[in-house]
Symmetry: C2
Subunit: 222 residues, 2 copies
DNA sequence: TTGAGTATACTTGTCAGACAAACCAGTCCA
DNA sequence: TGGACTGGTTTGTCTGACAAGTATACTCAA
C-alpha cells in the first residue's frame, strides 16, 4: 500500500465545485440564514455562485439526500421545516442510538477523551453567542458515538445531527439551553461511564434528551 | 386539503428517468448481477438504458449516496465490496438498533402482525431457491423496526438493509442459512415479545444475529 | 362581483455536444 | 531495470436548448 511507503503523507483536499457549493449551502441552512420561508431554486443557486445550473442541481439533490432540503417533482426545494412531531421523532431516534452506545461504553469503563474536551468547551463559551453552545454540545454526543468505533452508526448519527442542528438554530435557543445545566448533565453521564454503571448512564441520558426534546417541541409548537 | 374532498384517491406513481434507472441498477446490484469485479462507468449505464450521460451520472451518484456503490474522484464506480470487517460493522449496527427496539416493543407487549406474517413466509419458501429466503428474513426484521413508528429509525434501518442484502447475495447463502432454524429463532423472539420479557428478547436477537454474522464473516474471509 | 377557465411565466427534467482535467496502462529511453 | 512520457479512457463541468409540469395572473361570462 502507498501508506506504508509514506507513513505521514500530508492530507490535502481538493473539493469539486459541486461539493463546495453543497458545503456552503448546507452551512447557510444550518446557520439559519436559509429558512423554509423562501424557496431554493436551481437558478438562484446557480447565479449566486456563478456556476451552471446542473451544478446547482446536483448540490440541491445532495442536500435533499441529507434530508436538509425537501422537494417534490417539478417543484422548487425548500428547507425542511421541523415541527414538534419531527423533533420528537429525531430525539427518540437519538435516544435509541445513544443509550445503546452508553451501555457498551459503560461495560468497558470507557470515558472518551474527546467527549470530556467537548464538555469543557461548553463552559468556555458561556456568555458568548447563543448558537456557540450548539457546536460543543453536538460534539460531545458525536464523540460518544464515535468512541464505539462503528462506522455505520457514526454515519447514521451524523445524518441525525444535521437535523438536530437545524431545529436548534431555528428556535434561536436563547433561553432553551442553560450551559451550566447541560455541562452538569454531561458530566453526570461521564461519571456513570467511569463507574461502569450502564443503567444509570442510560437513564441520565434519557432525561437529558427528554428535557431538551420537550422544550424544543414546545417552542416549535408556538 | 385536497385529500378531504377525495378521501380515497387512487395512488399513481410517475417515476422520473433517473429514478427508473436507479431502481433497475439497484436491483441488479442487490441480485448479484453486478459485482465489484467490473467497474460501472457512466457511459455503460447511459448506453445500456439509452439515456444521456448526465442521467446515468445522477443515478450512479444516488446509489453512491446509498452506499451501494463507491467511487473516488475521477474514478469509475464499483459495487461496494464487503469484507468480514464490514459485515461485523453492519451486524453490530443492526444489533444496536434492533435490541433497543425489542426492549420497547416488549414493554408494551407488542407483537407486530407483519413480522408474524413474514416469519410464516420463511417456512413457505423452504426448498425453493436459496435467495428466496433473504426477502422474508429481512422483511421480518424490517417489520419489527417499523412497529415502533419512528420514521428516522426506519430510514436508517433501510439503508443498513440494503448492505445486508448485498453481502447476503454475495455469499450465495446456500448452506449458511437454515430456514427452519431461522424460523425458530424468530418465533422465540416473538414469544418473548408477547411475554413482555425485554431482556430475553434482546439476548435472543443478539445470538440470532451473532451466528448469522460470524457465518457470513467466515464465508467472506475465504 | 365572483367564479371558472385559459394563458402566461417560472421552474424543473432531460438531452446533446463539447472541452478540460485526471487517471491508467503501456511504451520508450536512459 | 527503472523512470518518464504519451495515449486512451473516464469523469467534471459547462453551454445551450427544449419539453413538461406547476403556479399564478388574467380575462370573460354569469
Amino acid at each position: 500500500m502507498f501508506q506504508e511507503k509514506v507513513p505521514m503523507a500530508r492530507q490535502i483536499a481538493t473539493k469539486s465545485v459541486v461539493d463546495a457549493v453543497t458545503d456552503d449551502v448546507r452551512a447557510r441552512i444550518l446557520s439559519g440564514s436559509l429558512t423554509s420561508a423562501a424557496a431554493v431554486t436551481e437558478l438562484e443557486i446557480a447565479t449566486a455562485y456563478e456556476v451552471a445550473r446542473p451544478t446547482a442541481k446536483a448540490a440541491i439533490e445532495k442536500l435533499v439526500g441529507e434530508n436538509l432540503l425537501v422537494r417534490g417533482s417539478h417543484k422548487s426545494a425548500r428547507v425542511a421545516e421541523l415541527g414538534p412531531d419531527a423533533v420528537r421523532d429525531i430525539y427518540q431516534a437519538r435516544a435509541y442510538l445513544e443509550s445503546g452506545i452508553l451501555r457498551r461504553l459503560a461495560a468497558s469503563h470507557t470515558v472518551p477523551e474527546a467527549a470530556v474536551a467537548a464538555n469543557a468547551e461548553i463552559l468556555a463559551v458561556t456568555g458568548a453567542g447563543d448558537l456557540a453552545l450548539v457546536e460543543p454540545d453536538l460534539r460531545f454526543h458525536t464523540a460518544l458515538v464515535a468512541a464505539v468505533g462503528n462506522e455505520r452508526i457514526a454515519r447514521m448519527y451524523g445524518s441525525l445531527a444535521g437535523e438536530v442542528r437545524l431545529c436548534m438554530t431555528r428556535v434561536q435557543s436563547l433561553h432553551l439551553l442553560d450551559s451550566a445545566a447541560i455541562h452538569a448533565e454531561h458530566r453526570q453521564i461521564l461519571d456513570h461511564l467511569a463507574a461502569g454503571d450502564a443503567e444509570a448512564a442510560a437513564s441520565a441520558l434519557d432525561s437529558h434528551l427528554a428535557t431538551a426534546r420537550e422544550r424544543l417541541a414546545e417552542a416549535l409548537a408556538a
